[in-house]
C-alpha cells in the first residue's frame, strides 16, 4: 500500500479463496464477506488484484508472465513457501536477472527462531514493544496489570514500512546502475528497532525502561491531555494562567518549577485541566509554548480544523456499494508528486482478466 501510494503499479496476487487478510475484521455492516473486510480495504487501496492458482500450470504461466514485466516482488507468504513451489527468488531471477525480490517473514530466513509461529501480539512481546506499554506499578517493581499491546496491527505496519523502504532503496540503487537483489526483511527485526531509545539506554546505562502511565491530565470532558514540560514551555506564563483560575498553590508550584521537575507537571495542572474541555486546555497551553496534545481517537480527528486544513482525510468511492467511505488520505503533503490514496482496494479477482489482456498485448 505504501509503494502504491508513491505511485507504483502494485498487483496483488491472491489464491482463489482470497488472501487470508480478507478474513480480518471489522466488516462493513458486520457482514463477514471477502469484499467487506475494512482491514483489507485499508491496506490494499491503490492496488489492482488478480486471482492465481499457483498449483495449476495455467496459474504458473500467468505468474511467469507477470514476473517478466515486474520490477519487484513482495512476498510475505512465509519462509520457503514460494521456493517449495519452485517460484521463489532463484527462479524469478532466471527469468528477470535484475528483479528485486523482497521477502517479509516473521523472524527472517536464518537463525534459531526462523520457523517459530507468530502473531501481532507475539511479535509485540518478543520485539519489546509491549514491555513499555502499560499502567504504573503498584510499588517499586511490582505490577498488577500486564504489559499491553497497542492496537492497530502495529507490528505488521512496522514490518511493512521497513520492507517498503528496502524495496525503494533497491529500486533507487538499480536506477543508479546497481544490480537487482534479494531482500530478507523480518518483522522481529523491525519490532526490535521500534522501541526508540530503550535498547541504547540499556546498552549505555544498564537500565531497563519499564512501563508507566504517560504525563497526562484528565479534562472536564473526560478526554486526557498529554503534557510535556520541555522547551519552549513558558512556565511563568502558564503560572499566570493558572493563577487567573484562583489556583494559588498550583500557580506557585508552576512558577518555581525547574526543568528537572517536569515529571511533576501533571499534578500541577490537574485541577486547572479538570475545569475545561481538552481542546480548550490544549490551545491555552500551546499558547504558552507547552507541548500538549489531546488523547483522541482517529475518528475524532476528522472534524479537527488542523487535519481538515491539511486534508488528512479523503472520501473514496465504492461504486458497487453505491457510496463512498472516509479514509486517511496521505502521510505527508507533497504537491509535485502527490500521494496516491485511491481507488478502493480490489474486489477478489477484480483485475484478473484485464491484466491477462494487458500481458497479451505486451508480448505481441
Amino acid at each position: 500500500m505504501l509503494l502504491a501510494g508513491h505511485g507504483a503499479d502494485v498487483i496483488k496476487i491472491e489464491p482463489p479463496t482470497g488472501s487470508p487478510s480478507r478474513a480480518i475484521g471489522p466488516f462493513y455492516q458486520d457482514i463477514r464477506d471477502p469484499d467487506r473486510s475494512l482491514f483489507f480495504w485499508n491496506y490494499n487501496r491503490a492496488k489492482r488484484g488478480v486471482v492465481i492458482d499457483l498449483n495449476s500450470s495455467e496459474g504458473r504461466d500467468f505468474y511467469t508472465a507477470l514476473i517478466r514485466t515486474a520490477d519487484a516482488v513482495v512476498d510475505s507468504q512465509g519462509p520457503d513457501v514460494m521456493d517449495r513451489l519452485g517460484l521463489g527468488y532463484d527462479w524469478a531471477a532466471e527469468i528477470s536477472p535484475n528483479i528485486i525480490y523482497c521477502s517479509i517473514t516473521p523472524f527472517g530466513l536464518n537463525g534459531p527462531w526462523r520457523d517459530l509461529k507468530a502473531s501481532d501480539l507475539v511479535h509485540s512481546a518478543l520485539g519489546g514493544m509491549a514491555y513499555c506499554c502499560g499502567y504504573d506499578p503498584v510499588e517499586g517493581n511490582r505490577w498488577d496489570t500486564p504489559p499491553f499491546n497497542p492496537l492497530g496491527w502495529q507490528t505488521w505496519c512496522k514490518a511493512g514500512e521497513h520492507a517498503a523502504m528496502a524495496v525503494m532503496a533497491a529500486l533507487l540503487c538499480r536506477q543508479m546502475g546497481g544490480p537487482g537483489q534479494f531482500i530478507d526483511a523480518a518483522i522481529h527485526d523491525a519490532m526490535a528497532h521500534s522501541t526508540e531509545g530503550t535498547v541504547p539506554r540499556y546498552i549505555f546505562n544498564g537500565v531497563d525502561q519499564t512501563r508507566r502511565l504517560p504525563m497526562q491530565v484528565r479534562c472536564a470532558d473526560g478526554v486526557y491531555l498529554n503534557v510535556l514540560g520541555l522547551p519552549p514551555a513558558d512556565f511563568k506564563k502558564i503560572s499566570e494562567m493558572v493563577a487567573r483560575d484562583g489556583l494559588v498553590e498550583d500557580a506557585e508550584a508552576l512558577r518555581t518549577t525547574d526543568p528537572s521537575r517536569f515529571q511533576a507537571l501533571p499534578s500541577m495542572l490537574a485541577r486547572w485541566a479538570a475545569r475545561r474541555p481538552a481542546m480548550e486546555a490544549f490551545r491555552a497551553l500551546q499558547g504558552c509554548g507547552l507541548a500538549a496534545g489531546a488523547v483522541r481517537y482517529a475518528e475524532d480527528m476528522i472534524a479537527d480544523p488542523h487535519c481538515q486544513a491539511r486534508q488528512n482525510f479523503v472520501e473514496i468511492e465504492h461504486p458497487e456499494l453505491g457510496r463512498s467511505f472516509l479514509y486517511p488520505r496521505q502521510p505527508r503533503q507533497q504537491a509535485a508528486t502527490p500521494w496516491r490514496s485511491g481507488p478502493r482496494a480490489p474486489l477478489l479477482g477484480e483485475h484478473t482478466e484485464a491484466i491477462r489482456r494487458e500481458l497479451l498485448t505486451k508480448t505481441e
Partner: protein, 434 residues
C-alpha cells in the same frame, strides 16, 4: 575516510542535515546506513538536545589514548557534548560540522554547501528556515533540482502549525495513543517510549528516496512537508473506516483480539517479578495442543471452553485459569514448549532481554559494534533492518563510526568539499562562524 565494506545503495547522495533529536534525525540515520553522505550541522546554542542524554563512560581504548578532536573555538565553552551514547546510536554514520546559521557569513557557507548537495532536510519550527531567507524558492535558486524535506511537529500549514510538539504530542495527534490499555474508565496508557519518533523517519526516508528516483527520471527536485503526526494518523485507517462504514467509535480492548477470532489471546504472568508471556490461539487445533501441554486440566474440559465461540464468551475466566498455569513457569522455557507444540507464544522481552538473551537478534546482526572517537567502541542498533543481499546497509555508513563528535568533520567539509584554505577556516573560526 577509507572503508572496505560492501557497496551501499545510496552512495554518492549528499544530504545537508538540519535535523534534531529523533523525529527528523532518525530519517537521516537511515539514509546514512544506506550509504548517503549526511552532513549534520550544529552551532553554539544549537547543539542537539540528545547530546545531554544517556551519557556513558568512555571505554578504555584498545591501543593507546584516543585522539579526541579539539572542538572548534566557537564550541570550546560548551561542556562535554561527546559522551552521549544515545546521540551516537541515532546519528551513527553521519558527518558533523559546526556552522553558525545565525551569522550572515555562516548562511553564505550554508548556501555553498546546498549548491553541491542533493537534499536539504530540517526539523525546525515551520518558519525558522524562511526567517533566515532559506525557503524552498531560495534553495531552488541555488540548486534547481534540490529536494527539500520539512519535518515540523504539526507541519508547516494548518492552525496548529506553530505549536510545540514532541513524540508524545504527535502520538496523540495521530489517534493511535488512545488505543492502548484497558477499556474505559481506565485511562489510555500510550507507549512509554516515543513511537511517533520512530515512525515518521521511515516515511521521511521513503519520501526522500522516492523524490530522488523522480529527480533521476525528470531532473526535477521538490518540496515536501511531512508533519510528525501525519504518518501515525495514516496508520489508523481501519479505525477511521469503522467509523465511516459502521458508525462505530474506537474502544480499547486490553490485549484481546477483536478483529480476528482468538481465544485465549493475551499476556499472562510468568514466574519471577514482572515476567510475562504472550499467547495467541486462533483455532481448535492450537487449543487442543495448549490443553495437552497444560496436562489436560479439568477446567479445560468445561463446555464454556469447548470451541472458539464459547471461549470468546468466557474470556475473563479463560484468562484467569490460564494464568494459574503460566505463573509457575519460566517465560522462555514456556515459550519454547508452546512453540514446539504449534502454539504462537512469545516471552515479553525487556530491552535487556533483547540485548542479552535474544538469540535471533544476535544471529541477525541487529547489534553492530562501531567506534566512537570519544566513547570507544560500543554496540549500536540498526535503524534500517532489512537485509539487502547485494548492496547491504550498515549502521556505520560511509564513516564507519558512531555519531560525529562536535565539529569532527569540519576539516573535510570546509576544506575538501568547499575548498576553503586553512587560513580561511582559521579566520572563520576566530569570528565564530565555524
Amino acid at each position: 575516510m577509507t572503508n572496505a565494506i560492501a557497496p551501499q545503495p545510496l552512495r554518492g547522495v549528499r544530504i545537508v542535515d538540519l535535523t534534531w533529536m529523533l523525529a527528523s534525525a532518525g530519517t537521516t540515520v537511515i539514509l546514512a546506513s544506506l550509504g548517503a553522505e549526511v552532513i549534520r550541522i550544529e552551532w553554539p546554542g544549537h547543539l542537539d538536545f540528545t547530546r545531554r542524554q544517556l551519557q556513558a563512560r568512555p571505554k578504555p581504548p584498545p591501543l593507546g589514548p584516543l585522539k579526541a578532536p579539539a572542538a572548534p573555538k566557537s564550541m570550546q565553552a560548551v561542556p562535554e557534548a561527546n559522551l552521549s551514547g544515545l546521540f551516537s546510536d541515532r546519528n551513527a554514520g553521519k558527518l558533523g560540522i559546526t556552522l553558525n546559521m545565525r551569522a550572515p557569513e555562516g548562511l553564505e557557507l550554508f548556501k555553498k554547501l546546498v549548491g553541491i548537495s542533493d537534499i536539504v532536510i530540517e526539523g525546525f519550527r515551520p518558519n525558522a528556515m524562511r526567517s533566515w531567507g532559506l525557503d524552498y524558492e531560495t534553495l531552488k535558486s541555488i540548486k534547481s533540482d534540490i529536494i527539500y524535506l520539512q519535518m515540523a511537529g504539526f507541519g508547516s500549514t494548518g492552525p496548529y502549525s506553530g505549536y510545540a510538539s514532541y513524540g508524545p504530542t504527535a502520538q496523540v495527534m495521530s489517534g493511535i495513543g488512545a488505543l492502548t490499555g484497558l477499556p474505559e474508565p481506565h485511562p489510555p496508557t500510550m507507549w512509554n517510549h516515543s513511537y511517533m519518533d520512530v515512525t515518521p523517519p521511515f516515511y521521511g526516508a521513503m519520501a526522500l528516496m522516492a523524490a530522488l528516483y523522480y529527480r533521476n527520471r525528470t531532473g526535477k527536485g521538490q518540496y515536501i512537508d511531512q508533519a510528525q503526526y501525519e504518518p501515525g494518523l495514516f496508520l489508523s485507517g481501519t479505525a477511521v473506516l469503522e467509523y465511516s462504514a459502521n458508525g462505530r467509535r474506537s474502544t480499547r480492548v486490553g490485549n484481546r483480539s477483536p478483529y480476528l477470532d482468538a481465544a485465549p489471546h493475551g499476556i499472562y504472568r510468568c514466574a519471577g517479578e514482572d515476567n510475562w508471556i504472550a499467547i495467541a490461539v486462533f483455532n481448535e487445533q492450537e487449543w487442543t495442543a495448549l490443553c495437552r501441554e497444560m496436562g489436560y486440566p479439568s477446567w479445560a474440559g468445561d463446555s464454556r471452553f469447548a470451541d472458539m465461540r464459547n471461549r470468546l464468551a468466557n474470556l475473563d475466566l479463560l484468562d484467569a485459569h490460564l494464568e494459574e498455569w503460566t505463573k509457575k513457569r519460566e517465560k522462555y522455557a514456556l515459550m519454547y514448549q508452546l512453540q514446539q507444540a504449534g502454539v504462537a507464544a512469545g516471552a515479553v522481552q525487556s530491552p535487556g532481554d533483547k540485548f542479552e538473551r535474544d538469540p535471533q537478534l544476535k544471529v541477525r546482526g541487529f547489534f553492530v559494534d562501531l567506534p566512537h572517537t570519544r566513547l570507544g567502541t560500543w554496540p549500536h542498533t540498526r535503524h534500517f533492518t532489512p537485509r539487502l543481499t547485494r548492496t547491504p546497509a550498515h549502521p556505520g555508513g560511509i564513516t564507519q563510526r558512531g555519531a560525529p563528535c562536535v565539529g569532527e568533520d569540519n576539516n573535510y567539509v570546509f576544506s575538501t568539499l568547499l575548498g576553503l584554505s586553512a587560513e580561511e577556516i582559521a579566520a572563520y573560526e576566530e569570528r565564530g562562524i565555524i
